[in-house]
């Protein structure tokens, strides 16, 4: 089995595009939340989201024509381009068919689906634009990465909802560990859209202005968007080419609640953590920081925190949620969590949970790294991702020993 390391990071986020801006955003506890501009939100009681209004695909993309690809594909391709640049890898130095992409998503090309639906409402089914219909499939998210970077290896889109980036990182890890590939671009992408905004509102899971995970008075998520891609390669290759190695992917765990379509399950999530620890050959006491799923809904944060307490006992590492800063970026969420965890190891700091005011008495053993980033030596990070459908996925990232 090859060891697998992270050598390139590509965040396209509401708190920064590119690794240095994103790192700065995490360190300063920046909020990426703004009034929704990508659709007319005037009829909604809640009108804020973590959009990326500064995203100008044509400034980041070199090969693909943005007009031919939906917004989520653009996020994925731009994030992968940033990760490649960050890695310093010369693409000519590796065999292109040994390089692939795995992209996770919740809603795929949701903006394109909404555009053709508006045409359908306006003029009937036969008025849907065939060119847009050619852009609706979710497989294009990974295909956009392969096309942009001219990768001729794997091109896989995993649609396991809000833990999809962790699935993608896990699958990429397997491909590299087993020698099936030499380099993999893995992470996720999603776009802010009306239907998710409406659905979360009606579920009672959407908050108004600020997402405050683990706070006593937390009241829900804010939808967010972006692209989060990590470049992974095997350790020997990274050393041979003299790469800057951020961290190592130690392993991952997946399981399924098989219980309820939307409500998380404490026992099952705790089991997923144990499974991830076993697969990564670590013990709970090795974990220095947990990048939480931490959506900011009363239910998720309570269930997640109690599952953490079940597994970690009387030694609970700091647990923070970057969703407080960027909102819930859906399929990209655990990709951003993995990037944040990687940066925590590389730079020795804990990203904060912002908007935090009051301790939750039910979670009194939890340290949410409130409001301000903290300097800390971080050797092992646990990155949590949970989803509708009971799709739990947890990735362990560690300093390279």
């Amino acid at each position: 089995m090859n060891r697998v390391v992270v050598t390139g990071l590509g965040p396209v986020s509401s708190i920064g595009i590119g690794v240095s801006a994103f790192t700065d955003g995490l360190r300063t506890g920046r909020s990426g939340i703004s009034p929704i501009s990508s659709f007319d939100a005037s009829g909604f009681p809640h009108r804020n989201a973590g959009e990326v209004p500064d995203f100008q695909p044509e400034r980041l993309l070199r090969r693909i024509d943005a007009a031919r690809w939906g917004r989520s594909s653009q996020f994925a391709a731009a994030a992968a381009r940033l990760a490649l640049t960050d890695s310093g890898l010369d693409p000519a130095a590796v065999e292109a068919d040994r390089v692939g992409a795995v992209v996770g998503t919740t809603s795929g090309e949701s903006v394109v689906v909404e555009a053709v639906t508006a045409q359908q409402v306006e003029g009937g089914f036969d008025q849907m634009d065939p060119d847009l219909l050619g852009q609706i499939t979710a497989g294009r998210l990974a295909h956009a990465v392969n096309t942009e970077l001219e990768l001729t290896g794997e091109s896989l889109t995993l649609a396991t909802a809000c833990s999809a980036s962790n699935y993608a990182i896990g699958y990429a890890y397997d491909m590299l560990a087993t020698g099936e590939a030499d380099v993999m671009f893995a992470g996720g992408a999603d776009s802010v859209c009306r239907w998710a905004h409406a659905g979360f509102y009606r579920l009672g899971a959407l908050t108004a202005d600020a997402c405050s995970p683990f706070d006593r008075d937390r009241s829900g998520i804010l939808t967010g968007e972006g692209g989060a891609i990590l470049m992974l390669e095997n350790l020997d290759q990274a050393r041979d080419r003299g790469a800057r190695i951020y961290a190592e992917v130690l392993g991952y765990g997946l399981n399924c609640d098989a219980n309820h379509p939307v409500a998380p399950d404490r026992t099952s999530i705790a089991e997923c953590m144990r499974m991830a620890h076993r697969n990564a050959s670590i013990k709970p006491e090795d974990v220095d920081y947990i990048s939480a799923h931490g959506t900011g809904t009363p239910a998720n944060d309570s269930v997640e925190a109690h599952a953490i307490l079940d597994v970690f006992g009387d030694r609970v590492p700091p647990v923070s949620s970057i969703k407080s800063m960027i909102g819930h970026t859906m399929g990209a969420a655990s990709g951003f969590g993995a990037i944040a965890g990687t940066l925590a190891i590389a730079h020795g700091f804990l990203p904060p949970t912002i908007n935090w005011s009051n301790p939750d008495p039910a979670l009194d053993r939890l340290d949410p790294v409130p409001n301000t980033a903290r300097t800390a030596a971080v050797r092992v990070v646990q990155n949590n991702g949970f989803a509708f459908g009971g799709n739990n996925a947890i990735v362990l990232i560690g300093a390279v020993e």
Binding site: P45, T106, V121, F200, G204, N255, A258, G389
Partner: protein, 384 residues
């Protein structure tokens, strides 16, 4: 070799529910043909006649016919409890998962359900569910007047999640969304989960539902002058290691010898090369003589539609019988590859010798995939 076998399967679609329904339809279409030297080879049959589908939908349709199971009623198979909010794709997939477990004679219980997972392929989940939800945000008096209970249906992992709930599948639960490639990608994903030891068995499948939304996509994006009927199906296969726990089913009837994938940026000639490379690698990994591959099942439709067959033959060095799955079953997008494997397993009679087949898939953007499967026909069909 992947060392992974199929111990049971199901197809739910126009022919009905289960392997027998599909086998009957294929027998009528004479897919399996005896040769003079006593073997049986696959032959390309005439496509079935599409049926009138107007009773399925209230919305206008581009054509009045399709390859759909018009009388499919999820309650007849699973009852009313827990199924009332399923969309059609979820219903087809959940029924197929249950039938595949039954077909395999799998014994799923609390001692093993954490070791059993499911991976399903799709294009974008239920286009009807997502588009309908968006539509409500546009046409209701207030944009948030959507039904919260239907919200999970807008997420692409709905079918896999519901299958897990219905049958208590606590292992790896995944959804791959690569359209025409999705079934072969699901096979790769599922086989990897087994060979890496994350689970002992995986239900691997793919699903597409008939809906006005998909019918219009077929109509508006198809090749001019060549209207393919829109099809629907869910196909699900239970996979486990060759050496496997008893509960995963007693009768292996096919072995997945090789699974490969490659991308040709921009499609066209780059994708031709990618697919040829895929097939070449698959042959090498399977350790077989390409001349033994007697049939190729592709996602193609028309006789002049050869963008899978020609690159595949370039790698094989000969021209095996071709079965164009989209010609047989209509445009089934993600479900196409699953129908290919189901056709291969359902087509031949019980006495036939083991046979090798190649499955191929290709997406418009340049994605390609190939699988080589060895079937022991009749290896478990009796008594199922």
């Amino acid at each position: 070799m992947t060392g992974v076998v199929v111990t049971g399967w199901s197809a739910v679609g126009p022919a009905g529910v289960g392997r027998a329904a599909l086998a009957d339809r294929l027998a009528g279409a004479q897919v399996a043909v005896p040769t003079t030297d006593g073997r049986t080879v696959l032959a390309e049959p005439a496509p079935a006649t599409p049926v009138e589908v107007t009773t399925l939908v209230d919305e206008p349709l581009p054509t009045l016919t399709g390859h759909a199971r018009v009388d499919f009623d999820v309650r007849a198979h699973l009852g009313r409890k827990g199924t009332s909010f399923y969309d059609r794709a979820t219903a087809l997939a959940v029924v197929a998962c249950g039938d595949a477990l039954r077909d395999a004679q799998a014994d799923v219980n609390d001692t093993n359900r954490a070791r059993l997972g499911v991976v399903l392929g799709t294009s974008l989940g239920s286009f009807r569910s997502t588009s309908g939800y968006t539509r409500d945000t546009l046409v209701q008096e207030k944009p948030y007047q959507v039904n919260p209970v239907l919200f999970p249906n807008t997420v692409m992992n709905c079918a896999a999640g519901q299958a897990a709930i219905r049958y208590g599948l606590r292992g790896v639960n995944a959804t791959v969304a690569t359209g025409p490639l999705a079934f072969l990608d699901a096979l790769r994903y599922g086989s990897n989960a087994i060979t890496c030891g994350y689970v002992d068995a995986m239900l691997v499948g793919a699903v597409e539902e008939f809906s006005p939304h998909r019918a219009w996509v077929t109509s508006l994006t198809g090749r001019p002058g060549q209207q393919v009927p829109t099809g629907e199906a869910a196909t699900v296969f239970l996979l486990a290691r060759t050496v496997r726990p008893d509960w995963t089913g007693p009768y292996p009837e096919a072995e997945i010898l090789a699974l490969t994938t490659a991308y040709g940026p921009g499609g066209g000639a780059a994708a031709d090369r990618a697919l040829t490379g895929c097939v070449r690698r698959a042959v090498r990994r399977a350790g077989v003589d390409p001349i033994e591959i007697t049939a190729v099942l592709t996602g193609e439709t028309e006789p002049d539609d050869t963008d899978e067959y020609v690159p595949a033959c370039a790698a094989l060095g000969h021209q095996p019988t071709r079965l164009r799955v989209s010609r047989l079953f209509g445009r089934c997008d993600a479900a196409t590859g699953g129908l290919a494997l189901a056709t291969f397993l359902a087509a031949a009679p019980a006495e036939a010798a083991p046979t090798l087949t190649l499955l191929t898939a290709r997406s418009p953007d340049g994605g390609t995939a190939a699988a080589i499967v060895r079937g022991w026909f009749g290896a478990g069909a009796s008594g199922r």
